[in-house]
Symmetry: C2
Subunit: 202 residues, 2 copies
């Protein structure tokens, strides 16, 4: 107990710097994957984008698979936390607004990056096991947040599947936004389904 | 009028052979794309798979883009026709069975092939315009069949968006089936959503 040694004082900022470097790499990795796809996404390209040396990048992420799976997981967690923070009142709030916010999780660079990773994993055995695990973890977490924010009572038969189907719909809407800006159509679909879900889950 | 000349008689079987070759190439192209992705899908690989010479393949499809976009469109049309044939009684039939059959359009090799093409197109300008057009045509046709077989009255406000959202869900279910066999979960989701749609569209 008592005072903090010089070594300890020095270690803390070093850890902070290391964490900041890691975060920059993770964010750059998602942006790179979203823009250039798996074929165009290497550790070197991400290091350059993040303004970090290739050596430092490899210290944090020894393999390309490590970097990109960690990146999608990190950004997914950030987005989930941000979505939850939008609704501090939780399930007692505006269910239609929650439906919109959940769909938004699937229409940005994160979804695009994840999609590139999934599709690459479907043809590369090395990546497949990692991404399957990642998808299961992120999927469970998103389902948990959806149930919580929608105020869905999963003890009622069918409710679990209603929420799952809605998240599948959100994923499909993300896919429909891949090649063209699908915003106008999506808004109409989400308005209609937010009403249907509100009624079904009430 | 009158008799058929020798030249005409000879032309017909030649056209038949040519059409059969074209169909074999299109089917092989979808299978190749579904299994190996865009990077592993070339005109040569498809020609070999179809048992056709590379020259004959290039006679039918001068470019890689021609072959694979034509393939996805052809197989999508075949599948749509087959789905419609399953319900000769049309909208007066079993709406829940129609929901299942429409979801099935998104869970086989065709969807997998189309997904590889979409994702490749999102990073390749040459492919993007072609695939965007293709997606719009196939999407419109699928929507038309869905409305018809579901007996959806699009003059009622919201009905169009109900059907669109359902097809987005089907697309999301296809994506969820990419890395792992999602059949068991999908069956439960489809059972629940078939009931919701039946109620909403009735």
């Amino acid at each position: 107990m008592g005072g903090v040694s010089t070594a300890e004082r020095d270690r803390v900022p070093k850890q902070d710097r290391s964490r900041a470097t890691r975060q920059r790499l993770l964010e750059a990795a998602v942006a790179c994957l979203a823009e250039h796809g798996w074929a165009g996404s290497t550790v070197s390209a991400v290091a350059e984008r993040a303004g970090v040396s290739r050596g430092a990048a490899q210290h944090h992420f020894p393999t390309r698979e490590d970097l990109f799976t960690a990146a999608v997981e990190y950004v997914a967690e950030e987005r989930s936390t941000a979505t939850r923070a939008l609704f501090p009142e939780g399930a007692s709030g505006d269910r239609r607004a929650v439906v919109r916010a959940l769909v938004d999780l699937y229409t940005g660079p994160l979804f695009r990056a994840a999609l590139h990773l999934w599709v690459a994993a479907s043809n590369e055995d090395q990546l497949r096991a990692r991404v399957t695990e990642l998808e299961a973890r992120v999927g469970r977490e998103t389902h948990r947040i959806a149930v919580e924010l929608l105020g869905a009572d999963e003890s009622r038969p069918g409710t679990r599947e209603t929420v799952q189907g809605f998240l599948d719909m959100a994923r499909g809407l993300g896919l429909a936004n891949l090649l063209t800006d699908d915003t106008a159509r999506r808004e109409r679909v989400v308005t209609q389904w937010a009403a249907l879900l509100d009624q079904t889950l009430a």
